[in-house]
Subunit: 763 residues, 2 copies
């Protein structure tokens, strides 16, 4: 199939790769504006406290005036949040976590700003704080948001006490299912809080211009979402906010919503000057929005033959002090909780719970790696008890194309069996090799996300084509878009020029997240190319003495299909069009994608629609465990990815390598550790991010069935590769040394402790 393509499917580097490698690319922090000030945020030292007074006079004196210091009284009173609105921009009456913004300053230098912060005096009266979600759900627990009452959704109470949201999904009769089962399995799993770990910390610059306009430079994944949120926060018309999406040094969900942009604007409005805010790595660790820690209780009823007939899951997402996108994350957890298995009776309860910690948000496949760790670990427990092969058990229960999940949402593009078989073969699952060595597999899925994307193309005077899209180049977006454009237009890749991007002039794009870019931008570009091609043919037809439908474009020239010797180079067509015939030639295209339909009787609470099409990723791990030290060495990690069609192989591979890196960190080492609400390891070393030498051999397999909704049958691959990793590792560890770790990360301490316990039991 690939042979017939000239650009898509080829190993092509990003167009700005040289600039990235040589450091010439400008990140947000590289931008300097004239007279720009440097902002810093004063953060709460208490996890829960009443603010009794703020004295900023000394800071104002140091900075040269009151206009360089802001607090809640300078900020819009609106409460913000990606799902619910419960967070003030600055804490006003009380603080709810260590790290919450209380005031901010703008100074001539970052150093002066830090000094100014030390000159602000805040009087606090501490309050009892809650750090454990189970404790928080107790009816007698102190309320973190006293003023938020219970809230009833369309069917059920979805917010009460410290429960921020409660999502349920039900199918069949789960208790009846359990009664009919031959075996019951009940397990409790824990996952830790991890950061997204993007290399570039948050940074933004804002200028509040005259006439109420605001211009922002920020490395967001969703410039149009930022525009919409800022327009709402500052009560400005959409067009009065211009967001310039900058080169982005990683997001993984951390840059999907307004984070620091409003502080820059508030400081710029008050000071009258541009303000830059760059977040330190420590602040990233203590005040930003990690992946939710969860507790997952999963009970499964299985027949003798291995068929699963009932599953009940209770998930608790620790969302921290403010809801942010937590309800959506925990709602997604509910949707995924029963796994990609055909189960007639399902009951899921997913709770998103406030605690006095920083707010959790989305992190690569929001809400999903946690339940996947749980159900894929339990699949091996079940297989073990039934004496079945883990692959066989999974294949027996695996969903088929067109399966409707417990919530009613379809599963399309189901490559679960192909990917599981592929990794089992590649890892040679049935054969063992060496002492304390083991192998494990697991599978996960995530959407080929939907949502609005637009693309515009203009033919330039020299025959090059400028391509405008609204999505930032977060994941190789630009080269993918250029490849699709070149392929569809029949124009050499180096004549496709990506234009600068901002919300003012770029076509709308909802966001670069949810593994939707290749799918949605790809299709929008394809549609724009079709439009441009039609117009090029119309313009060329009279010059070639034929009708537009008899023309095609190849290698930058437009020609008569049956007589390709009759042709005009596009550069010549452009010249004549711009300078003597009918004007510039412009094309446009848009795309949305197909949404799911839910069974509204089956679901309540937050169920966010991500579409119908999914990408499956199965992974197989081989590990070697040192039973003396508890150290786990991952020997090999094989990933099989049902991606439909690979538009850009290096980019796709990078998604797999990066996802596996993140999945292994989640499995083995990463953890935000807190003591009484305070993060005690706010740096990469203590936090435990994996370094290059820590990485095993990773093998990347693409299954290209062309079964996706994207161009050429492609599907998204942004989130999927980090979804099943932890379970594959946990299963391999069990296979190696016979201990089942149900709590992430699987540290040497936990291994040694489990080995000890196992030894005691066996003795």
């Amino acid at each position: 199939m690939k042979e017939r393509f000239s650009y898509v499917g080829k190993r092509l580097p990003a167009q700005d790769i040289k600039e990235k490698v040589t450091g010439a690319v400008q990140y947000t922090d590289d931008i300097k504006l004239p007279d720009m000030l440097f902002g810093k945020i004063l953060r709460s030292p208490h996890p829960h406290a009443r603010i009794e007074g703020i004295d900023t006079s000394n800071a104002e004196k140091l900075l040269g005036g009151g206009k360089y210091v802001v607090t809640a009284s300078d900020a819009p009173a609106i409460l913000v949040g990606g799902a619910l609105r419960d967070m003030p921009l600055f804490a006003k009456d009380k603080v709810r976590y260590i790290g919450e913004p209380v005031a901010a300053v703008a100074a001539r230098s970052p150093e002066q700003a830090i000094q100014a912060l030390t000159n602000i005096k805040v009087e606090y009266k501490t309050l009892p704080a809650i750090f454990d979600p189970v404790e928080a759900m107790d009816k007698k627990a102190v309320l973190i948001h006293e003023h938020l009452g219970d809230y009833r959704g369309s069917q059920d109470v979805i917010r009460f006490g410290n429960v921020c949201s409660h999502t349920t999904i039900k199918r069949g009769d789960v208790e009846k299912g359990f009664r009919e089962a031959d075996h019951l399995f009940e397990d409790i799993f824990h996952t830790q809080s991890i950061i997204q770990g993007q290399i570039e910390p948050h940074a933004a610059i804002a200028v509040a211009r005259s006439a109420g306009r605001v211009e922002v430079w920020t490395h967001t994944t969703g410039a149009f979402r930022i525009r919409q949120q800022l327009s709402e926060i500052f009560e400005l018309p959409l067009h009065a906010v211009i967001v310039n999406p900058m080169t982005i040094g990683g997001s993984f969900g951390s840059k999907n919503f307004v984070r620091i942009e409003p502080y820059c604007i508030i400081l710029s409005k008050k000071s009258g000057l541009p303000v830059k805010l760059v977040i330190s790595r420590e602040e990233e660790f203590t005040s930003f929005n990690p992946r939710h820690a969860t507790t997952i209780e999963i009970k499964t009823g299985v027949k003798k033959d291995g068929s699963i007939i009932a599953r009940k899951v209770r998930l608790t997402y620790d969302t921290g002090a403010y809801s942010d996108i937590g309800p959506v994350v925990s709602g997604e957890g509910a949707k995924q909780a029963a796994g990609p298995y055909n189960i007639p009776n399902v009951a899921v309860d997913s709770y998103c719970v406030y605690t006095n910690k920083m707010s959790a948000a989305c992190c690569r496949a929001h809400g999903t790696p946690q339940p996947t760790f749980a159900f894929e670990s339990q699949m091996d427990i079940i297989a073990g008890r039934l004496g079945m092969d883990p692959l066989e058990l999974r294949l027996k229960n695996a969903v088929e194309e067109g399966y409707a999940g417990p919530g009613g949402d379809l599963y399309l593009g189901v490559g679960i069996k192909e990917t599981l078989i592929k990794v089992s073969e590649k890892i040679d699952l049935k054969n063992r090799d060496g002492v304390n060595r083991g192998k494990g597999i697991a599978v996960g899925n995530w959407y080929s996300g939907v949502g609005a994307s637009g693309a515009m193309m203009k033919l330039n005077e020299d025959g090059t084509v400028s391509l405008s899209i609204g999505a930032p180049d977060a994941t190789g977006t630009d080269i993918m878009a250029a490849q699709v454009a070149a392929e569809e237009l029949g124009v050499p890749l180096d004549r496709i020029v990506m234009t600068t991007k901002n919300t003012d002039h770029s076509p709308f794009d909802i966001i670069s997240s949810g593994s939707r870019i290749t799918h949605c931008i790809g299709q929008a570009v394809k549609n724009a190319a079709a439009d441009l091609k039609a117009k090029l043919s119309e313009a060329a037809a009279p010059l070639l003495g034929t009708d537009p439908e008899h023309l095609e474009i190849d290698d930058g020239a437009i020609m008569v299909k049956k007589a390709p010797e009759k042709q005009i180079p596009l550069s010549q067509l452009a010249m004549s069009s711009h300078f003597s015939t009918h004007g510039p030639i412009i094309g446009s295209g848009t795309y949305f994608g197909k949404l799911s339909s839910f069974d509204r009787e089956a679901v309540s609470g937050f169920v966010y629609d991500m579409g119908e099409d999914r990408t499956f990723v199965a992974q197989g791990a081989e590990v070697e465990v040192d039973t003396q030290t508890g150290n786990i060495r991952v020997v090999k990690l094989i990933s099989a990815n049902d991606i439909g069609f690979v538009v850009n192989p290096p980019n796709a591979e990078n998604q797999v390598f990066g996802g596996v890196h993140q999945g292994l960190g989640f499995a083995l080492s990463e953890e935000i550790k807190t003591e009484a609400g305070r993060v005690v390891n706010p740096n990469f070393r203590d936090y435990g991010i994996l370094r290059a030498p820590d990485m095993p051999e990773v093998e990347c397999n693409f299954i290209e069935s062309g079964n996706g909704p994207g161009p050429y049958g492609a599907k998204g691959l942004g989130e999927q590769p980090n979804v099943p990793t932890a379970a594959a590792i946990a299963n391999a560890v069990y296979d190696a040394i016979g201990v089942r770790i149900k709590s992430l990360p699987i540290t040497p301490e936990k291994i040694l402790s489990a080995l000890k316990e196992k030894g005691e039991q066996e003795r």
Copy 2:
């Protein structure tokens, strides 16, 4: 007709009028970039001299290094020019006018830059200089461009000696026509050199970025032309040059080509920093590109009944040291020279001649006010001799719709008679009032220019529509475009949002000149609106349960034509489209306009195609002459403008008021005076620009026949109102005191001298 429109034809102010009035608008000189340097240009003090050496060492010392000083050796070797290429960026071997760039510096402040210039030592060996084009055409004259040989165009020699170009147009047999005439008229007219007088002097900023990219901020009328020229000069691909067109404080032709941008780039490339260059008013007067001074010899053969049967015109355009756009200007003079009269035998020779003065270029209706002054003055001379009414003579000979000029190019949209009759009535031509008072009329025409324009529209999430065009807002462009968009879409004007502009992302637009904007941008916007509307209807049809063709848009809602109660606000359609159905909605449109066809047997040399459609403007003046002082008081000036349709009345009126101001300055007071090639009056006061109290009552009449090629039958009106003014004044002066001034400006000195001569003759 107008009643049926909601936005076009209405007195609507520009959307940024408040910002302009309060000074909040940013002009190029208001832009500051970090670490920006200030450039200054060292200019030749000699009109013609050999450069024997340049010593920049002291300047380099002062500025802190060699990278802050540039000369010819730092500049691309390419020769530049709008028609021919004969001008180096910096003089290398010799200088050809006082004011020619020899070197440039970039300094920390403008003051330091000026100081640095005084530290550059240039050794010159002076050469004989030529200032008079007649002298320059002498075969024995010293050659200003020794190395340029003769050049033969498709038919004839068009460049020889100091003649930069020679354009000829011939029809019939002019000598035979003269033999058949009852009366012959031979007159010689002179017009002076004037500046465009735009309030904002030239200013530009450039940054030469890594990876060979260049970004420029400049107040050009043609960002895409600047992009193309810079791309050529610096041998960069088109897309490596980004031109940001800034708010423009007037151009009138002065900002149509690269002027100072290359110097900013050369300085930025060498210094590694952004460089701003702002030209002083004195430099504007001494080194930029004024309207050509001309000598026009016109011989006309007339039958007894007043019909003109032959006209021979010889035009000499003094183009200064370099050709710039001179060949096109003098070629246009040739096209216009016989006037808008039906003459069977015509012979025109138009010469563009080098002299050792600054290069002339285009100035509002390039090449045309000069011959119009000549033939419209002669029309009154003829009428006088024949005892005919000047109106009657003109009406008798006036061209009709569809007339082919001597060069074969059609005259469409011919409102000559209507405008002449209108001004004659309004000025009450037949009646006189007071001593030394007189009345005169004249008519001129200019094109409703053609050329490529594009427009793109995107529906935003809130139902506003962002409109992108590539033309700067030089002449009320943005409000005109927004009015057309609002009208065509049925969306309230305040929901049309103009986007920022630059060459990277804006649709192509050839230039804001030639009176083409309302015509071409207007039509491009109309086409884009039609495209967007079709897509909106398609998106709304399923929601309204009907077919797209049954829908219309009014007041920001889309509705079923026959059941308007069935409707959806566009904001709602936008929301559903962006967030749940088929993606953003984008439309685009382009336009070119109809070119003329020339009779290639009839023309040789530079004949630039401006299209077929024309706008006629007739003006009537009443003057009172003080025969003691020679002072002319213009009592009243009436302008009748065959504009087709007025899209924005205040903007159209401003074109007339501004054009009359410029026309009156050309007629009465403005003149660049030189002595041995040196401008001796380089400031507005000595130059003689008219101030507000100098202006007469100006009455503006629009004839709206809907006979134009633009939207709603509109035509261009940028250049026309300054075309016939000088002749109307000269004719009124003759009518008042019986003296015929054939040389502009008509100063008191010339009046007194002519009165004296007349007195002597009569005595």
